[in-house]
Amino acid sequence: MSEFIYLYRSTNEASRAAMGSPEQMQKSMQTWMAWMQQLADQGHIKNPGHPLERAGKLVKGKQRTITDGPYAESKDIIGGYTLIEAKDLAEAVELSKGCPILEGGGVVEVRPVLKTGM
């Protein structure tokens, strides 16, 4: 088994638009919970991870320039991450296809965790 990180990326507008009415909210929530639960039941979740605040600071370059987030340069904001266990990248990608963020035009970035071989 190898480890992968899912990075959930979405624009503010897209995530807001996907919410819609309270009842749609409830459905989105249920879909998220069900998806997470299914991954957990199949033993794929190493760590459910954390949601991230939308705002933050960027510290940049030798000058240590500090700017405010949300980040004008990147369209997608990382909203959270999850540590996944899967056979290989192909399986990790396959598993990510059920993520509800995709329905709202969001992105799941699937990144293998580098094995340090120690």
């Binding site: 995530s15 807001r16 919410m19 819609g20 009415s21 309270p22 009842e23 749609q24 909210m25 409830q26 989105s28 929530m29 249920q30 998220w32 919970m33 998806w35 997470m36 639960q37 459910p48 991870g49 954390h50 949601p51 909203g79 959270g80 999850t82």
Partner: protein, 420 residues
């Protein structure tokens, strides 16, 4: 992981918006709605990772409260918010405790009542009052309101926008502390709740799930009303009783095949005994004074039906006399029609048809499918199947949804069988 309570977000939206509107002022309803949306977004970001909190309602409320404080701090200098906020906004030490106070459980209940009464502004037509309640207090989206009233998105949006404008122009939320004002507007509130329930019970929405929800919401809001000292009036108890006694029959209104089933054909063992008992209890509480409202009479009629374990055991004489009373309190062609049907049950189809023929405003029933269906049933019962067929055909042409259509088609088929 805790499961989500059904319609949690919809219900919380109503509660939170009512409280936030009290804080921000009635002209800032949109701001309140934004803050709710923010709190919900936060939930959607956090819960999938950390699980549903122990008390989801409290979590959402607390999150909305923090957002509200942020907004208040940000808008400190702006005078767009409720004028009475001015004194809290002077200092941070005053602001937090004041907002805490506004988010107490009891205060939140009262906020929903304030909003309920505000929605029933005399400048708004009844349909707009009901729509507004459904939208603001029950968290129904424009599309969901449109589905409930079998209306278009654009039509409902227009009606709601206009209604919200009236609400904003009223300048402040209705003050429920004033007993005289409360009593003056209470009949309009009762009426709107009654219409909301009826839209669910008899309405034209083809989705039975939507209609059950409307009934449930009407019951919930009515309970909120009679739990308040000023709202615990005989009329409101009677209204709640009639809702319970009707809602008790909902499980039997659809037969095993999912088809609409008339009262006479219903499997009475499927009536909800808990709601029936609750209805009886409320009806007894409603009998505390000289006031007799249409809700009392309608609840009493429902109670007579509820007390008959078979349709043949129904005390039709009592039902006819209750309809007589109802005709003096709130006469309408539909009430007259129901009275005529009860007369037919008591005295036979000929007498029933005579009564229908004598309805004063019967032309107002011309587009009501069940007027024609009733004529058809009674003609059928006295053996005039050709006439019955004509009436059923007319009824079928007026059916408002597939469920009604199916029901009327079934009645027509039954009639063919009789002819053979």
């Amino acid at each position: 992981m805790t499961d989500l309570h059904e319609h949690l977000f919809r219900r919380e939206a109503g509660r939170i918006v009512a409280t936030l509107t009290r804080i921000f002022g009635v002209e800032n309803l949109a701001l309140a709605e934004d803050v709710v949306q923010d709190a919900f977004c936060r939930a959607l970001e956090v819960w999938p990772f950390r699980g549903v909190p122990e008390n989801p309602s409290a979590w959402l409320m607390a999150t909305a409260k923090h957002r509200a404080l942020d907004v208040l701090r940000r808008e400190c200098t702006a005078r767009t918010l409720a004028p009475e906020l001015g004194r809290w906004l002077e200092s941070e030490e005053r602001l937090s405790p004041a907002v805490e106070e506004l988010f107490r459980a009891e205060a939140i209940k009262d906020d929903q009542l304030r909003m309920m009464f505000s929605c029933c502004h005399p400048r708004l037509p009844e349909a707009a009052q009901v729509g507004l309640m459904l939208h603001i207090l029950c968290g129904f989206s424009v599309d969901e309101v449109a589905a409930a009233f079998v209306s278009t998105h654009a039509g409902v949006e227009k009606r709601l926008t206009r209604a919200k404008k009236v609400l904003a122009e009223s300048g402040r939320l209705f003050e429920i502390a004033d007993a005289a004002d409360f009593a003056t507007r209470l009949p309009a509130v009762n009426r709107a709740l009654y219409l909301l329930f009826n839209e669910g019970y008899h309405g034209a929405s083809p989705e039975s799930a939507v209609r059950v929800e409307l009934c449930r919401e009407a019951l919930r809001l009515t309970a909120l009303l009679f739990e308040h000292p000023l709202g615990s009036t005989p009329a409101t108890y009677a209204l709640a009783a009639l809702m319970c006694l009707h809602a008790a029959r909902l499980p039997a209104r659809l037969d095993a095949a999912g088809h609409l089933s008339v009262l006479a054909d219903q499997d009475r063992s499927r009536w909800d005994p808990q709601l029936m008992a609750e209805g009886q209890r409320l009806l007894e509480r409603s009998a505390a004074g000289p006031q007799l409202t249409e809700y009392h009479v309608e609840a009493a009629i429902a109670a007579v039906h509820a007390s008959a374990s078979r349709v043949d055991d129904t005390n039709w004489a009592q039902i006819v006399s209750l309809y007589d009373t109802l005709m003096t309190i709130r006469p309408s062609p539909v009430v007259a029609l129901n009275r005529a049907i009860a007369v037919a049950q008591r005295d036979g189809p000929e007498r029933g048809l005579e009564e229908i023929g004598a309805i004063a405003d019967s032309h107002r029933l011309a587009t009501y499918p069940f007027y024609h269906a009733a004529l058809g049933e009674l003609e059928l019962r006295r053996g005039r199947s050709e006439a019955a067929r004509e009436h059923f055909r007319a009824a079928l042409g007026l059916a408002r949804n597939s469920m009604e259509r199916q029901f009327l088609e079934q009645r027509m088929e039954a009639q063919v069988i009789v002819r053979r």
